[in-house]
């Protein structure tokens, strides 16, 4: 190897992260690893079961909700990854929800370095919040309280996007990159807002409960307001583009935008036809209308191009991308809602079965047996005691918090359960003799 080449390699190896950057990156990766622990097949199954059941019943026994906020942090530290994994599926009103938005999403935020990725993440999170609101409606859990939570979070994400966009706009990476990226992020946010606005309005129209309708109306207003802010600031970006000196460059930019618009439309078309069977006719109609208008926007852009109005052409193509993205989002939202709907009906079904077999009295205990976690818990305890103290009665008390899930029966006892703050269920296990499992239900 000759001298120049060796010098070349030496020069290349001089390029590296500064000590500080390196440490920062390392912390981020290690945090991520803690958050995503290695799973055996068994824990994966448990976690899936936790998604709907355990997270709400297991932790509520701690009792008063307001001590949970600082507690969540301690729990997160103690239990590490598996909790934050379970928290991923939490919704406003769930015990693990604070972990989801502080710990999990905090880590995501740490992983984003540039203002651009931070802004994109915030758009993603705003999208996530609105999706949560929609899932809550489907599960009949949207009320003034959960709506306030979602809305506050959503608004904070949308505001962060605005701030970050301003920052990006100022960052000049040559070639007006800042303005272009800012416009792109804004367009993303607009697509998210518009798509959700449509879905929320559709849900509101079918809503039967009054508090739910009111909550939805408030949310829709907020989404609309944020959408207006986003589209009004877009005017500023148009102004930024006019400062681009040469027509030639603007023309090039417009041509590229056209290409990405066409690609996007193609992609979304394929996506729609793939998902068609799984979504409602309304959603697919909404998406298809948007594809038509996106294609029209491309045609309009072509007209501007012919007239050498490159800035307008660029804007038209950008609009096309935005509308196509909206179409895609509508389908995605619909798909997610259907999935959670299905899960919910499964849960209901199993609850129904429990009631049928127990006359509605001790379905909670029965369900405990179905739950893998708690079943094994009980078994271990009986075994341990079985070796040391044979012939004694072991009492296991399972406290469950206020529940609004399953008691829809008309008889009084169930009404008591709903009203009372705590339900105490006693399971007596006779370890000696035939090791009968003696299950009794009681109400305090």
């Amino acid at each position: 190897m000759d001298k120049e080449f060796e010098q070349f390699l030496k020069g290349i190896k001089d390029i590296k992260l500064s000590q500080k950057e390196k440490e920062l990156s390392r912390t981020r990766v290690v945090d991520f690893m803690k958050q995503h622990p290695i799973k055996t097949i068994a824990t994966r199954k448990q976690n899936r079961a936790r998604f709907f059941e355990t997270e709400r019943t297991l932790f509520v026994s701690i009792g008063k909700k307001h001590i949970l906020m600082p507690l969540t942090l301690i729990i997160a530290i103690l239990l590490g990854g598996s909790v934050s994994y379970a928290a991923e599926g939490a919704f406003p009103g769930d015990t693990l929800y604070p972990i989801k938005i502080t710990v999990n999403e905090g880590v995501q935020n740490l992983l984003a370095v540039s203002a651009e990725s931070k802004a994109k993440l915030q758009v993603e999170l705003a999208n996530e919040r609105l999706k949560e609101a929609e899932v809550l409606v489907i599960n009949n859990r949207l009320n003034a309280q959960t709506q306030a939570k979602v809305e506050a979070q959503f608004q904070s994400h949308a505001e962060k996007v605005q701030k970050l966009v301003e920052k990006i706009e100022k960052e000049e990476k040559g070639d007006h990159r800042g303005a272009r990226v800012a416009a792109e992020v804004h367009a993303n946010l607009e697509s998210v807002l518009n798509a959700h606005e449509d879905v929320l309005v559709r849900i509101k129209d079918t809503s039967e409960r009054e508090d739910e309708t009111r909550a939805l109306a408030s949310l829709i207003l907020n989404v609309r307001a944020q959408g207006e802010i986003a589209s009004s600031t877009n005017v500023k970006f148009d102004a930024a583009f006019t400062t681009q000196k040469t027509d030639e460059r603007m023309q090039k930019g417009a041509r590229e935008k056209k290409k990405s618009a066409q690609n996007k439309i193609e992609e979304v078309k394929k996506y729609i036809s793939k998902m068609e069977a799984r979504i409602s006719a309304e959603a697919s109609a909404q998406a298809n209308t948007r594809i038509v208008s996106a294609s029209e926007a491309v045609v309009a852009g072509d007209v501007y191009m012919d007239g050498k109005m490159y800035r307008d052409a660029f804007n038209s193509y950008q609009t096309a991308v935005k509308i196509a993205q909206e179409a895609k989002l509508i389908i995605e939202i619909e798909k997610d809602l259907k999935v959670s709907n299905k899960n919910k009906s499964k849960v209901k079904e199993s609850e129904q079965n429990d009631r049928d077999s127990n006359g509605g009295k001790s379905n909670r205990d029965e369900r405990n047996e179905e739950d893998d976690d708690r079943k094994s818990d009980v078994q271990i305890r009986t075994n341990q005691n079985g070796t040391t103290t044979t012939g004694t009665n072991l009492k296991i008390q399972v406290k469950t918090g206020t529940s609004t899930e399953s008691h829809t029966d008309d008889d009084e006892e169930d009404d008591d359960k709903e009203d009372g703050d705590e339900v105490e269920t006693e399971i007596k296990v006779n370890v000696g003799g035939n090791s009968n499992l003696n299950v009794t239900g009681g109400v305090q």
Partner: protein, 181 residues
């Protein structure tokens, strides 16, 4: 190929162990992956992010209980794919031709070297790398800077070993010319 300490990587049985080894690999390869990335996308911040993503994505894969037989090659392949996604996501700005960049008053060294002191050698090297054709540049980086075998490079870029060998040969010749000029 330079061994990176682990050639076999399937230890889902001992999560703690995997954790430690993965961090060791991070300490060993993070600089190299960052360097590779910054030379290809000329954006320091993004390069740092893509390097992080490479590790987090690979970890996610391992955490699912999958096994990886050659972790170093796997990491490079992940990075390569992320870089390609990056190209697609922004067709012009990040990897514009050098002429375009200079036209905009953009100095490649500034971006790669910003905030850190760089030797004269580094500047010359970066300039030479920027002038190479894209397909040559990638394989040369893989071969000489990252010290991967021809076979590994072939799998990463999805070409046959023959094609990769020819590219390395021609790229080396081109690089020599650039360096001597």
């Amino acid at each position: 190929m330079a061994s990176c300490g682990i050639s076999e990587y399937h230890m889902a049985q001992q999560p703690g162990n995997t954790h430690k080894k993965f961090i060791a690999i991070y300490d060993e390869l993070s600089d190299a992956l960052f360097r590779h990335c910054v030379l290809r996308i000329s954006d320091r911040e993004r390069a740092q992010e893509l390097m992080q993503d490479t590790f987090t994505k690979t970890w996610e894969y391992l955490a699912k209980g999958e096994t990886i037989s050659n972790l170093k090659a796997f990491l490079y392949r992940t990075l390569h794919n992320l870089i390609i996604d990056e190209y697609r996501a922004r067709p012009r700005s990040a990897h514009s031709s050098l002429e375009q960049l200079i036209e905009d008053g953009y100095e490649p060294v500034d971006h790669c070297g910003a905030r850190t002191e760089h030797s004269a050698e580094a500047r010359i090297a970066v300039e030479a790398i920027q002038k190479l054709g894209e397909s040559y540049r990638d394989v040369l980086l893989f071969r000489y800077v990252d010290e991967l075998s021809v076979q590994e490079i072939a799998r990463i870029v999805g070409e046959s070993e023959n094609v990769v060998s020819v590219r390395i040969h021609r790229g080396t010749a081109q690089l020599r010319e650039l360096l001597c000029a």
